[in-house]
């Protein structure tokens, strides 16, 4: 219990220090708008990104219960997730393509690179699927592939 009280007291102290830093460094208009951005961050996470993942997961589980889907399910799930997370991080780069403050910022062709990255993830997913398929067939003696 002592550890928990110590952690809580330290946490409140450190948090208040952060709040004080915020109050002393930001002007009033910025301080008023910051909570809107904080709220927006929660909405983006808890009411968009996570529900999207939960929803896709739910559809996916329903789909995967179909006949013969068990062979592809792992590869499809991992591929979808990796495509999703890399695309999420690519969004600001794609939006700001060509709008860098100078020619050395955002100097790549991000659309091409993003498409290449997603294509690589998908191809790797397919390769992984065939690899596990062969391995599971070999281990179960089902070499004929029927």
């Amino acid at each position: 219990m002592k550890t928990r009280i110590g952690l809580a007291v330290a946490g409140v102290g450190v948090g208040l220090w952060g709040l004080w830093l915020l109050l002393s460094a930001l002007e009033l208009p910025a301080l008023i708008r910051l909570p809107i951005w904080l709220g927006g961050a929660v909405v983006a996470d808890d009411f968009f990104l996570v529900p999207l993942t939960v929803g896709v997961g739910w559809l996916f589980v329903r789909w995967s219960a179909g006949p013969d889907r068990h062979r592809t399910v792992g590869a499809v799930r991992t591929t979808l997730l990796y495509v999703g997370i890399t695309s999420l991080i690519a969004v600001p780069l794609l939006l700001r393509q060509g709008k860098g403050t100078n020619s050395t910022v955002l100097a790549r062709d991000y659309l091409r690179d993003w498409l290449l990255l997603e294509a690589t993830i998908i191809v790797t997913g397919i390769a992984g699927y065939f690899f596990t398929l062969r391995r599971s067939r070999a281990s179960s003696g089902d070499i004929g592939g029927r």
Binding site: R4, I5, L7, G11, G15, G74, Y82, T104, V105, R108
Partner: protein, 383 residues
């Protein structure tokens, strides 16, 4: 028509919404947050050094490593945070405690602390990443907000740990895993181990495709990074161009001055005639990108000696740039005395490009790029 009932904590059947999963992913996230916080603190103090804190000039690449790690750990924390939020998502729909009691109050306080934690962390990671693109679409100052939010996050995290400590302890080691009857995990459902592997894989993938802005070997695959370390004049990226700084070049009357015990003044050709030294030093920026380079110029300590000042002097560096926070910077005594610290005139075998600070710039080991003043025309010995 009746609207569907809102979800409750029981609406999420996956057995992966489990404290053991939250504990494991929480540990990974804690590692990322700790690295990010400590390296961020270091960067803050390297830029804004309080008088009581001596920052050493060696190892020369320390800031390159810490700031690369800062941006890397922050970027990798994005998939980890999302995975953590996914795991505990059903808790969002837990019934608010009723009727009021001491326990209900404690629950509400705990939820408030989690709201602070999640909102601050999500915004911190977002503005941190967007800052690496040098894009500032928000109505508050980046550096001050990013710094203050970091402390708020650490505070809220400590409170969160205090609340969850018994649960964390109970799930620190592997616990029995409930397997759903209808979907044997061997066929469709994801096991915990499978989830951990997938999340670790996502974090690794994000790391590999973004770390190349600080580790040139990974530059070609840095498709999720805003910088490629070798793109720019003389193979080096630029943060602030001469045009943005309002510097157009120099005329034939240009002179470089040192104000110390003796006042000295040099034309550019006279600077070139002084004994030249070479340093291999990186430019490492707060946005996480860095690139090593070969610099040639006059050691600052040699210039100090010529003006009759001791090598360990505090030196104000004055740039020709107009406006901006860093038209002047200060070299602390350890940096001024370091034999690697130069008033550089040449970069990678050629004369400095205007965007890299022609005719002269300061380059010192273990310093944030923003303090490596360009277009320098005066050094003032302060003490």
């Amino acid at each position: 028509m009746k609207l569907p009932a809102p979800p409750t904590e029981k609406s999420f059947p996956s057995p992966l919404h489990h404290p053991r999963v939250a504990t494991v992913i929480g540990r990974w996230l804690a590692v990322a947050v700790t690295i990010c916080f400590l390296t961020g603190l270091y960067s803050h103090f390297a830029q804004d050094t309080p008088s009581w804190l001596p920052i050493p000039s060696r190892p020369a690449s320390l800031y390159r490593v810490t700031q690369g790690l800062h941006v890397l750990s922050g970027t990798v924390a994005v998939p980890l945070l999302l995975a953590k939020l996914w795991t505990v998502y059903p808790k969002l729909f837990a019934k608010p405690p009723w009727p009021p009691s001491r326990k209900a109050l404690a629950t509400m306080l705990e939820r408030a602390s989690i709201l602070v934690l999640v909102s601050a962390m999500a915004l911190e990671l977002f503005i941190g990443f967007i800052n690496t693109l040098q894009w500032y679409p928000w109505p508050f100052p980046f550096r001050q907000t990013h710094y203050a939010l970091a402390w708020i996050i650490v505070g809220a995290l400590l409170v969160h740990l205090a609340v969850k400590l018994p649960l964390i302890r109970a799930n620190w080691r592997r616990t029995a895993e409930k397997v759903p009857d209808s979907l044997p995990p061997a066929i469709t459902g994801l096991t915990r181990r499978g989830l951990f592997r997938t999340v670790a894989g996502a974090a690794t993938l994000v790391g590999i495709t973004s770390v190349g802005q600080s580790v040139p070997a990974f530059g070609p695959v840095a498709v999720l990074a805003p910088r490629k370390p070798n793109i720019g004049p003389q193979g080096l990226p630029v943060n602030r161009t001469a045009e943005a700084a309002g510097v157009t070049g120099i005329d034939e009357n240009w002179r470089f001055m040192i104000t110390g015990p003796q006042q000295l003044s040099y034309a550019l050709d006279e600077l070139r005639a002084l004994p030249q030294s070479r340093s291999e030093l990186p430019i490492a920026c707060v946005e996480g990108w860095s690139q090593g380079a070969r610099w040639e110029g006059i050691r600052i300590r040699d210039l100090l000696e010529l003006s009759g000042a001791p090598a360990h002097s505090r030196v104000r560096v004055v740039s020709m740039e107009k406006g901006g926070f860093y038209a002047t910077s200060e070299l602390p005594p350890d940096f001024a005395a370091d034999p690697l610290t130069l008033l550089a005139l040449r970069l990678n075998g050629g004369e400095l490009a205007l965007d890299h600070g022609f005719p002269a710039r300061v380059i010192a080991p273990n310093r944030p790029g923003v303090l490596q003043s360009k277009w320098v025309h005066r050094l003032e010995v302060i003490s």
